[in-house]
Point group: D2
Chain length 127, copies 4
């Protein structure tokens, strides 16, 4: 990351930053879009918008967003729901130098909790 002007502000190594950046992206997604009105018909456009907005953020290599139509709760007189963290299934890969982190967000039934976790982290090779 020698050419990245932000590097001088960072403590730690590239791997630390990869983990940190993966966390930023997941925290951002959960708190930007939760509350968005939602039906099965509108879910695909929201998935695409979240992916596009995540790709423009620093160091993102790859992102995939799915909204769980089966868990979606449509209700009330107007028959729609809202996006909740529980409906999100996200995977985002970030790269910092030769280090890479894959962060994930998904509802874990065993925990009754929408967990954000590091699915993989590695490099640089001899760190």
């Amino acid at each position: 990351m020698a050419d990245d002007p932000t590097s001088e502000y960072f403590a730690g190594n590239d791997r630390d930053r990869a983990a940190f950046e993966a966390g930023i992206k997941l925290g951002s997604i959960a708190h930007q879009y939760v509350g968005t009105p939602l039906t099965s018909a509108s879910a695909a456009s929201l998935e695409r918008a979240i992916e596009a907005a995540t790709r423009v953020q620093p160091l993102v290599e790859r992102v995939r967003v799915r909204i769980d139509r089966k868990r979606m709760r449509v209700r009330g007189p107007y028959r729609y729901g809202v996006l909740t963290e529980d409906l999100l299934d996200v995977e985002v890969a970030v790269r910092v130098g030769t280090a890479r982190a894959i962060g994930a967000l998904r509802y874990v039934p065993e925990l009754d909790y929408p967990l954000m976790y590091l699915k993989a982290i590695g490099g640089p090779t001899k760190d």
Copy 2:
């Protein structure tokens, strides 16, 4: 609105509610999506997602969302911006019985302010 189970909760007439619902939609849009990471490349998907999410809300007849690419401010080492209210140009039409309101949000240079206003309101027929 005789068949709408929410009617009994409302003071006022259909025209009042049309104005109220138009306000809800604009307030919702501004506060749900402001802060979303943004470039020219991602703007179209966000426009579509906002329109789709607005259409699922009560009593919406029509909605159009444009993000002003010219006023968009791309900056920093990673060359992206975020959605601000000033970038939004929104028009939403709601219908309640025979009353209809058209609400708009756009940046007004003379006021230096992203104004939400009633662009049109009318009905019921002899209003």
Copy 3:
């Protein structure tokens, strides 16, 4: 509202605008804060912040925000919840000239829906 420079942009009368502005405030509240991490211990500070942020908005006379501690759902390994629309009980009064609207947001069990409605609307004087 002769002295308000935004007046010329508005269709309709002061009563229409009062209803519209009440809607804006409720839509804004719901979509700005839903998703905020929450426990009984943090709820009071969020209520105060929402009230303070609403008071700075145009034409607001009075606002009251309550978060329903009894319906709050604390869960998962870390024992916290998030703000949902269902937890909000809001009342906001706006004044435009001699017209006034009171908007409310509360969960209505009969509808299984967090309803935003006009609780009162009146004026100008001979309404």
Copy 4:
């Protein structure tokens, strides 16, 4: 973190997770509250609410939030502004086992960018 039921879902070590969790908290703050209406008078209540909401999240040891009154832009006919990322000065410490990360968010004039960075990361002791 032997007693934390989420541990089994995580790749990497405690230090990786500390960096990841610090990122989550900063991403969450930026995207939850940006757009909130704001004046000098309302800023303190929002600082307190953000701190309280951050403290209820997993593994947070300490958090401090300041909103920059000097950079705040009050404008338009109603003389208020909104929270932007540039106004936020945040420091959050998270602890995972014996590892600890301190994440920060602040506007960096040299970069013209609200940077989220790792201010410190360390442990477990011989990592």
